[in-house]
C-alpha cells in the first residue's frame, strides 16, 4: 500500500484503525521528500531522526489506546517562518542562517502535542516578502505542475510540498495572500483563518496587524482538521481571540446548500484577470447557481485602494519588526574593518544579511513613517482599511460569503516578474482585502486554465470569526468539482518522479 496521494483525513483514519502506522506513513513521505526535494526545493531543512522519533511516539501512544487529535500520526511540513527548537529557523533569510531558536512557536507546540510528526521546514520568500519564493535567500521553489514556474509565495515551499506530495499536510502564513495565492497556483487548498484565530507566538513577524498562520492541504476537510488542531486562545499572543470559533471539521461534514447566499465582488471579477482564470470563475458561479444558490453582485469600491494601502501598512510594520535583526542578540554579525561603532556593525550586517526586496520594503516603510509623510501615507492607508471594512460589512449584510478568483493569473515563469516589484505586488490583488479587514479566506481549486493547462483557484471570504461558514462553502465548491472530476484536482498533477 502506498500512502502518497491520500488525503490527510484518509491517512488519519488508516492510522486510527491500526491499518497503518505513523512510522510507515512518515517514512514514505520522508523518503519521497528526500528523493524529490532537488526538483521542487520545497524544503530548506529535513530531519529524518526527529520526524521518525515523533512518529514512533505517535505509534506508542496509539498502541496504548491514546489519540491526541483527529490527525494523530499524520506527518506535516512547517513553513520556516515558525520557530522550532530542533531545527534551524531562517525565515528564508541569510541574516538568520543556522539560527536554532530556544523556544517552539505555539503552533509548533500544538502540532507536537497533537502528535503530527514534523518532516521539515519549508522554503519561503525572505521574511515572507514576495509571491513567488524567488526572494528566498536560498533560491526559488518550483511548481510541481511545471518546474519552470513559480509555486506562488511567500509559502511556495509548503504549496509545492503539498502539490508534489512531499507532505500530506503543511503550515503556511498569510500576510497578504501567502497561503492562498500559492494554493491557487499549485491546485492545493489554503486557508487564512480570522486574524487572531491562530496564535502568532513564535511566528517571525512580517506585519503584525496582518499576519495569520493557517493550513495548506490537499482537501478542504484536511484544512479544517488542521485548523482545529492549531487554533485557540494563547496567552503568549495578546491579539489571540479569547473565544473558540468551533469545529471547522464539523462545518465541512455538515455542509449543505440550504439558504446559501453568495456575493461576487464587482471590483474583483472583471479587469486584470487572465481569460482562462475568469472563465473558470464563471464556471464556479454557474455550478453554484445550478444548485439553487442565490448569487448577487456586491459593490466594494474601496477594494480599488487595497493594494496601495497594503504596500504602505506592510512596509511600515515590517520596518519596525525587522529592526530586531541588529547583530546583537542573534543571527548574523558582519564586522567592517578597523574599529567600527556598533551602528556601523549593524548597518554592515543588515546590508549583507538582507536581500533586495527586504531592503526595498524596509526603506519604503521608513519613508511612510517619516515625519511629514506619516499622515499622507501611513495615516491614509489606515483609513482605507476602515473603508474596506465598511464595504465588507455592507456586503455581508446581503450575503453569507463572497467569492472571487484567488489569483489574477496561473503560475508565471520563474524570472518573469522578479525585476518588476509593482507587477509582483499585483498578484495579491484579490487576497489582500481579507488581511486588511482581518476576515477569513480560503482558496479551493476550480480547474485548469484553457491557455496553459495550469491550476486556478476560487477564493471564499466570510465575515470575521465565521471561519465555519468559509469552510462550509469551500467544501461545497470542492464537492461540485470532485463530482465532475472523480478526484481532487491535485490528482491530475504530473508525476514528479519523471519530470
Amino acid at each position: 500500500m502506498t500512502f502518497i496521494g491520500k488525503s490527510a483525513s484518509e491517512l488519519a483514519d488508516l492510522i486510527a484503525k491500526g491499518d497503518a502506522s505513523s512510522q510507515e506513513v512518515t517514512k514514505e513521505f520522508f523518503d519521497r521528500a528526500e528523493a524529490l526535494n532537488h526538483k521542487t526545493f520545497s524544503y530548506l531543512h529535513l530531519n529524518r531522526h526527529t520526524a521518525m522519533a515523533a512518529a514512533k511516539l505517535a505509534d506508542d501512544e496509539r498502541a496504548a489506546g491514546k489519540s491526541a487529535s483527529a490527525l494523530h500520526g499524520v506527518p506535516i511540513a512547517v513553513k520556516d517562518v515558525l520557530t522550532t527548537t530542533d531545527a534551524p529557523t531562517t525565515s528564508g533569510s541569510k541574516i538568520l542562517e543556522g539560527w536554532m531558536p530556544q523556544y517552539d512557536a505555539t503552533v509548533v507546540r500544538k502540532l507536537r502535542e497533537a502528535r503530527l510528526p514534523i518532516l521539515g521546514k519549508t522554503n519561503m520568500d525572505e521574511f515572507a516578502m514576495g509571491s513567488s519564493t524567488e526572494y528566498s535567500a536560498y533560491g526559488p521553489s518550483k511548481n510541481p505542475w511545471d518546474l519552470e514556474r513559480i509555486p506562488g509565495g511567500s509559502g511556495g515551499g509548503s504549496s509545492s510540498a503539498i502539490a508534489g506530495h512531499l507532505a500530506p499536510l503543511a503550515i503556511g502564513s498569510d500576510t497578504g495572500g501567502s497561503i492562498r495565492f500559492p494554493a491557487a497556483v499549485t491546485g492545493s487548498v489554503g486557508a487564512k483563518p480570522t486574524y487572531g484565530a491562530v496564535s502568532r507566538y513564535g511566528a517571525i513577524a512580517l506585519a503584525s496587524s496582518l499576519d495569520q498562520i493557517g493550513p495548506v492541504t490537499n482537501t478542504v476537510l484536511d484544512a479544517a482538521l488542521l485548523q482545529d488542531v492549531i487554533a485557540g486562545h494563547d496567552p503568549h499572543d495578546s491579539t489571540s481571540l479569547p473565544e473558540s470559533l468551533g469545529s471547522m471539521a464539523d462545518a465541512v461534514r455538515k455542509a449543505d446548500f440550504k439558504g446559501l447566499k453568495v456575493g461576487i465582488v464587482k471590483q474583483l471579477s472583471k479587469d486584470g484577470f487572465q481569460e482562462g482564470v475568469k472563465e473558470l470563475f464563471e464556471d464556479t458561479v454557474a455550478k453554484l447557481v445550478a444548485q439553487g444558490v442565490e448569487v448577487v453582485e456586491v459593490d466594494c469600491p474601496s477594494f480599488e485602494y487595497a493594494v496601495a494601502a497594503y504596500y504602505l501598512i506592510l512596509p511600515a510594520e515590517a520596518s519596525s519588526n525587522l529592526a530586531k535583526f541588529d547583530s546583537v542578540r542573534f543571527g548574523l554579525r558582519v564586522m567592517p574593518e578597523g574599529n567600527p561603532t556598533i551602528e556601523r556593525v549593524m548597518a554592515a550586517t543588515r546590508e549583507a544579511g538582507f536581500g533586495p526586496e527586504v531592503k526595498r520594503r524596509i526603506i519604503l516603510g521608513t519613508y511612510a513613517l517619516s515625519s511629514g509623510y506619516y499622515d499622507a501615507y501611513y495615516g491614509s492607508a489606515q483609513k482605507v482599511r476602515t473603508l474596506i471594512q465598511q464595504d465588507l460589512a455592507k456586503a455581508f449584510s446581503q450575503v453569507d460569503v463572497l467569492i472571487t478568483p484567488t489569483a489574477p493569473t496561473t503560475a508565471f515563469k520563474i524570472g518573469e516578474k522578479v525585476n518588476d516589484p509593482l507587477a509582483m505586488y499585483l498578484n495579491d490583488i484579490a487576497t489582500i482585502p481579507a488581511n486588511l479587514a482581518g476576515i477569513p479566506g480560503i482558496s479551493v481549486p476550480n480547474g485548469l486554465a484553457k491557455e496553459d493547462g495550469l491550476p486556478s483557484g476560487v477564493q471564499v471570504l466570510a465575515p470575521a470569526k465565521q471561519d465555519a461558514q468559509m469552510y462550509r462553502v469551500g467544501a461545497l465548491i470542492e464537492q461540485l468539482y470532485v463530482a465532475e472530476w472523480g478526484a481532487p484536482l491535485i490528482a491530475k498533477a504530473p508525476n514528479l518522479e519523471v519530470l
Partner: protein
C-alpha cells in the same frame, strides 16, 4: 512623479541602519519612485472624517494576572548571540573614539 532622490534613499537607509552601496541607491531611487507614485493613490480615497484602523479585530485592554512565569535562562538567551561576555551581549563601542 514623487521625489525619491538618491540623497533621500541614502538618508532613509541610514535611518534604517542599512549600509547601501551607490549602485543600490540608484536602483532603489528609481524603484521606490514608481512604488510611491502608485501607493499615493490612498489619498484619493479618504477624507478627514474617516477613522483610522490599526488593528483588524477590535480588542482593548488585554491583561493577564501579574504572576511570574518561566522564561529563557540567561544562558539560553545568550546562546545565539554573535558575541557574549560575562553573561551579557558583547558589542562594539557606541561612540567613535574621536
Amino acid at each position: 512623479m514623487s521625489e525619491i532622490t538618491p540623497d533621500l534613499v541614502r538618508h532613509l537607509a541610514s535611518l534604517a541602519r542599512i549600509l547601501v552601496t551607490d549602485e543600490e541607491v540608484e536602483t532603489l531611487a528609481g524603484e521606490l519612485s514608481v512604488i510611491v507614485d502608485s501607493v499615493a493613490k490612498v489619498n484619493e480615497a479618504v477624507s478627514g472624517d474617516v477613522v483610522a484602523t490599526s488593528h483588524p479585530i477590535p480588542m482593548a485592554n488585554v491583561f493577564r494576572e501579574d504572576v511570574i512565569i518561566p522564561s529563557l535562562t540567561q544562558e539560553q538567551a545568550l546562546s545565539a548571540a554573535p558575541d557574549a561576555f560575562d553573561g551579557r551581549f558583547k558589542v562594539n563601542a557606541i561612540l567613535d573614539e574621536d
